[in-house]
Symmetry: C2
Subunit: 303 residues, 2 copies
């Protein structure tokens, strides 16, 4: 049986504009994308907060994915709302509106049944809250974390304390440069590994991802897609695929991490094919395996 994955982070409703279309108030948020992605591989324990406006329908959808919602707290008020607009170049987006609502007072508490989760992912929230979750866990095999430029600037000390305690950091390349103060990716990665984590995953958007550990580098391209409809949630579903695959394998070593990073890339490549979670809702494990095979032929020069 698989290990289980616990994820802490935002649950939101997103309004997304792209040059070719828009989606209004669709289910989103880091822990939602992560959970749905991870659920293809392993049982998921979600920790998050929603308002009284959160529909039963979305709750049922998440449950049907095999996601445990015991840790999804409902608070008086509205669910977190985000709105953004992508440019013709889909790598660039403007945030049009952010309404934190109930998410503003999110103080994650792990239900008793979550505390033995083997794989844990601390989505991008205030580093002190991430550390607090870490302290509620029994003996996880691997704790991963995400963060963002805001926390690197605003809470550098709390963030450094968190980073010294996690096993894996999964962040964007711009954050890697900012956090390390280095402009070369190899030197930047080494500096971050020196801060504590044994594993660093650098997300590079359409250019794929790099993985660094002491003495090892692994590179995977992004899957070349003809139509990127909506990049929202790509990084979170990437991380969900990585941690789901690690939980399914039950071990965290070089071999399982490399495969997990490819599975993460596979799921992320599906996410961006439609608005919001639409593509993941229709996705099957068979399609995931098929694209995993396409990643092999995409990168193979050994045979």
């Amino acid at each position: 049986m698989s290990d289980s994955v616990c994820v802490v982070g935002s649950v939101a409703f997103d309004t997304i504009e792209t040059p070719d279309g828009r989606a209004d108030d669709v289910l989103g948020g880091a822990s939602t994308y992560f959970s749905v992605a991870a659920s293809f591989f392993a049982p998921v324990n979600l920790v998050g907060i929603v308002g009284t406006d959160f529909p039963d329908e979305e709750r049922r959808f998440l449950s049907q994915c095999g996601i445990n919602l015991e840790g999804l707290v409902e608070a008086e008020g509205r669910t977190f709302r985000w709105s953004g607009r992508y440019h013709e170049n889909m790598n660039v987006r403007d945030t049009l509106d952010t309404q934190l609502n109930v998410f503003e007072h999110f103080a994650p508490e792990l239900p008793e049944s979550y505390r033995s989760s083997e794989l844990v992912f601390l989505g991008n929230i205030q580093p002190a809250l991430q550390s607090n979750v870490l302290s509620q866990l029994e003996k996880p095999k691997c704790v991963g974390a995400d963060t963002m430029n805001y926390w690197i600037e605003q809470s550098p000390d709390e963030l450094r304390r968190l980073i010294s305690r996690v096993d894996l950091l999964s962040i964007n390349d711009s954050e890697v440069f900012q956090l390390s103060g280095e402009s070369n990716i190899v030197r930047a990665a080494r500096k971050i590994l020196d801060m504590g984590p044994r594993h660093l995953i650098v997300k590079r958007g359409e250019y794929g991802a790099l993985y660094f550990s002491s003495g090892e580098i692994f590179a995977v391209p992004a899957f070349p897609l003809e139509d990127v409809v909506d990049p929202t949630g790509a990084g979170d579903s990437f991380a969900g695929g990585v941690f789901g695959s690690l939980a399914e394998t039950g071990t965290v070593d070089s071999r399982s991490l490399r495969r997990a990073i490819v599975y993460g890339s596979v799921v992320a490549s599906f996410t961006v094919e439609h608005f919001g979670l639409n593509r993941l809702k229709a996705l099957t494990r068979e399609e995931i395996e098929e694209r995993f095979g396409q990643f092999m032929s995409l990168t193979d020069f050994h045979s």
Copy 2:
């Protein structure tokens, strides 16, 4: 015995400034970098033009690499000179000075002994001149070409005529977007393949390269280097490695192209480790094979 590679393009003296150092009047130019890179794999026939200031010493160096200089014409005047400055982010550079000198009237003529070259690379010069060289060849197995934004803007019709006649185009991602008018790389690649070439290599600098043919995509990362000293000539030595490897193999198919693109990436990764041609001057085939092996472990998730 290997096939031979013929290359047409600039021979220059470069003055290069980087945040960490500078090099004055060092041997450079597209066909020089290409030739030296290709010479690790196969015999090379170089076509270019130099002034009366071109030192015997450089001529001897190129000859000792196994490069045939019968097509290196000496004309009255000075050799092409280029000067540029790289920013802290080595992907950005400013051209400080360009003196075309004898290169301004370059009208490449292939010596009789070159016309049977099996592999041919038309470096970035005026498209009409590239087409003219193409017409001087007997029956090459594979003709590749490079170009730049200037020709895409200034000579679009001549460029399209050239592109319809070559087998392989090797250009930067920004040129792929410009030439195709598409902002998505897969759609852009398909549009360029529709213009004639069977093979398209997209150079993405520190992100590596993509290869497209009808129904096939191959991706290779750049080798992660801790110190990039001077990016000058990376793209040209990449192409040299690709064509050298193809010539050595003697066949141009999916398998040989994928391996050739990795060899190109290997040689380019050495080029940027020192100023100008300094690293390639000291490079051995054993080091190339060792780094080829490192590319395998960099990208492997199959084992």
